[in-house]
């Protein structure tokens, strides 16, 4: 369902756009109708009993009644709503709501699936949502680092290495001088690798992908070596304090939302603030406009007097600092110790979140949340003894991200000068 390239005289442009839109609406309509059938036949007819979603946890100080949903009835209702949304796509006036309907439809289908899987059983919904937010943190920060550097035209494959370097430094310095010191050091090291990447690709015009891979392999090698040779002998170097959750007064006591958003540690709040600041910086300040122009058309930016090299250096270094902060989450925000390759490819997932989020900080955050949701959903489903093999459940986060992004986000466009070295004349 990709749109046909727009060509020909300007007069035809409007018409072609319309037919594309109509076709998209029809495809969406069929998808929604298909989901409606799925919800009715599989999830509706196949469910018995009540699905129990626990809103408060056994050890919570306050208690909220469980959310009890009659499974079959709920799923038939979902099927009806899906069918309604689907049919609307074929009627006049449905065009405006295509993406929204698809997004809503997907969410409803997931809810129906969840109710079907939980029918007759129960699990902690609050726990799942809290885990979603936590799992999204490193991906969001990785994705944000990607946005910051790719917006100035530097492809940042090195996010994985920067995360790992941040995690390592956070653990080492955190053990020696405490959490704050470890965090600062992780940010500095991340920034240092950002600067190295910038130097390699801006000044020395090394291929950006290769430079990134080199940094990743270098960091993996060094940290693994130190971890196996030094940490195993001197355990005190790898025993960092963990930032404990900060309760935001009043808000933290809200049911469901409280544990999700207002009883988290520094890294969760930090990630949200950074996304907001980065969005403001990139899209609402003069500096941000200049940065984006460097990523789109460096030659034009240069002729207007923008220092392309300096802009790239600064933004890629800042991106490195963001990734360093994200890396510190693994040790100072989660488990308090470093272990070989503990980032386990999340930097690359962050990069994917950036693309799925259309090179926009908020988009990256959304993609990370979807990934985090699918990830924690997968963990709950494994406990519910669903007839789905665990290997398929493990694929769920990736599949969900692909489907949602392909279906809802649509075509994403990278900054025009992404990945290209700029040679000043």
């Amino acid at each position: 369902m990709t749109s046909t390239p727009i060509s020909g005289p300007v007069a035809q442009k409007g018409k072609k756009l319309d037919t594309t839109k109509v076709r998209q609406a029809h495809v969406t309509g069929w998808i929604l109708l298909g989901l409606a059938v799925l919800a009715a036949v599989v999830f509706g007819a196949g469910s018995e009993g009540t699905a129990t979603f626990r809103l408060s946890r056994p050890n919570d100080p306050w208690a909220l009644p469980d959310l009890l949903i009659p499974a079959a009835a709920f799923n038939y209702l979902v099927a009806a709503v899906l069918a309604f949304l689907g049919v609307r796509q074929f009627l006049r006036g449905g065009l405006r709501w295509t993406s929204l309907s698809l997004g809503l439809g997907m969410a409803l289908a997931v809810a129906a699936f969840l109710v079907w899987a939980t029918a007759g059983k129960g699990f902690s919904l609050t726990g799942m949502l809290q885990a979603t937010v936590v799992a999204a943190v490193p991906i969001t920060l990785g994705g944000l680092a990607g946005v910051l550097s790719e917006r100035v035209g530097v492809v940042n494959i090195a996010i994985e290495g920067m995360l790992l370097a941040g995690a390592f430094t956070g653990a080492l310095l955190g053990s020696l001088v405490g959490g704050i010191g470890g965090l600062v050091a992780a940010v500095v090291i991340g920034g240092m690798f950002g600067f190295i990447l910038a130097a390699l690709v801006v000044t020395y015009r090394v291929d950006q992908i290769i430079a990134g891979v080199v940094i990743n392999l270098f960091v993996l090698g060094v940290t693994s070596y130190v971890s196996s040779q030094v940490y195993s002998e001197h355990r005190f170097l790898n025993n960092a304090p963990i930032f404990s959750p900060i309760r935001i007064p009043v808000l933290a006591d809200l049911p469901v939302l409280g544990p999700m958003l207002f009883q988290q540690n520094l890294f969760v709040y930090g990630a949200i603030v950074m996304v907001a600041v980065a969005t403001y910086y990139l899209f609402h300040t003069r500096m941000g406009l200049r940065a984006r122009s460097v990523g789109e058309h460096p030659r034009a930016a240069d002729t207007l007097g923008i220092n392309v090299y300096r802009t790239r250096y600064i933004n890629v270094t800042v991106a490195g600092m963001v990734a360093g902060f994200g890396g510190a989450w693994f040790t100072l925000g989660s488990v308090g110790r470093f272990d070989e390759n503990m980032t386990n490819g999340l930097g690359y997932i962050g990069l994917a979140a950036m693309i799925f989020g259309r090179w926009h900080p908020v988009g990256a955050l959304m993609a990370a949340l979807i990934f985090g949701f699918a990830n924690s959903l997968q963990q709950k489903l494994a406990l519910l003894n669903t007839p789905i093999p665990s290997e398929f459940l493990a694929m769920a986060p990736y599949i969900a991200t692909i489907v949602l992004v392909a279906g809802v986000v649509g075509r994403a466009r990278a900054p025009a000068a992404d990945g290209e070295a700029y040679v000043k004349e």
Partner: protein
């Protein structure tokens, strides 16, 4: 069936005497699985076997770490070209790579931890462990200690050396229920469908934390992570919550000793004495009695065991300890079948 505790020392002595001055020329090489030599768990315990042999037999030990599954073949091949008297590969996932290398180099002695070949390959000695016997004991004692009546477990990858722990743990808890009329449930593993909770990696410590949190949210107060270093992430959560709310059962090594930063969260550990079997294999290779086949570690010969409770001893009532000893004796004499 031999006994490690009883036979190892004389074997070492004999081997050392026979080998004499040549001892230092004997080289034992090891290829780790992903997770690293210092994972406080699986790879580290196996490497300890080589270190023990270095000390008692005077062999030389070398290791290569696998950073990814793609390293297995390359690592083994680079050792084949060196001068290793025996190559020990650590982990079920290296099974195919080891088999290929052994077929290509019929004169090289191999041994693999966690894999038994059927039919037997003449130059590979497989080391396998009846870990379900020890895990059965862990499940039994955990079912007796839990306050919420819910236990949890999760694994690294759904492969036999991992799930055998979960099988034993589950069945031990069920056996406790049957004996004591309780209704303790085990989350994270279903022995009938062979499905459960898996991180699908052995690297992400933050997964270990998230998975333990998941089980804790569902009411579990004792969790057994079977995922190598990933379990250390679970330990940080238990440390934060406090042992009253969440305790762990360690696997592979006695994590009370190998993870001293969080030692107070471990109720006990299901130990898999890979160090004992690895040194035994090295000893056999040195004294010439090496031959392909299978070496099984059991509760009876000390190849698997339940670690002491250490600081947790007060949480385990005397009555439960007595019952546990009876179960242990029952498993050893065969009157309790851990496989069903």
């Amino acid at each position: 069936m031999f006994s490690f505790r009883k036979t190892l020392a004389p074997t070492f002595l004999a081997a050392a005497l026979i080998a004499g001055s040549d001892a230092s020329a004997f080289t034992a090489c090891q290829v780790t699985d992903t997770g690293g030599i210092d994972d406080n768990s699986f790879n580290q315990t196996a490497w300890q076997g080589v270190l023990d042999a270095q000390e008692s037999l005077g062999v030389e030990g070398r290791f290569l770490e696998s950073q990814a599954e793609t390293d297995y073949v390359a690592n083994i091949n680079s050792l084949v070209n060196g001068d290793c008297d025996i190559i020990i590969t650590v982990g079920f996932l290296l099974g195919d790579a080891t088999k290929e290398a052994a077929a290509a180099n019929p004169d090289q002695a191999f041994s693999i931890v966690d894999y038994a070949y059927d039919p037997v390959i003449p130059n590979i000695l497989g080391q396998v462990y009846a870990t379900d016997e020890a895990a059965f004991l862990a499940g039994y004692v955990a079912a007796g200690v839990t306050k919420t009546g819910v236990l949890g477990t999760f694994g690294g990858i759904n492969i036999p050396p991992v799930t055998i722990f979960m099988d034993g743990f589950y069945r031990g808890a069920m056996y406790y229920n049957a004996q004591n009329g309780t209704e303790v449930t085990v989350l994270g593993w279903n022995p009938e469908t062979r499905e459960g909770l898996f991180t699908n990696n052995f690297n992400s410590l933050d997964d270990g934390r998230a998975f333990a949190q998941n089980l804790y949210d569902e009411g579990a107060d004792i969790v057994m992570p079977v995922a190598g270093p990933v379990g250390l992430g679970s330990a940080s959560l238990a440390n934060e919550l406090g042992a009253d709310k969440l305790m762990l059962v360690g696997v592979d090594a006695d994590l009370y000793l190998t993870d001293p930063n969080n030692s107070h969260v471990y109720l006990t550990s299901v130990t898999k004495r890979m160090d004992a079997t690895v040194s035994e294999v090295i000893a056999r290779a040195m004294n010439g009695s090496f031959e392909g086949g299978v070496l099984v570690g059991t509760l009876d010969n000390g190849g698997v065991d339940l670690a002491p409770f250490h600081d947790m001893a007060e949480r385990v009532p005397a009555e439960l300890s007595t019952k546990l000893a009876a179960v242990r004796a029952g498993i050893i004499d065969g009157s309790i079948n851990v496989g069903e």
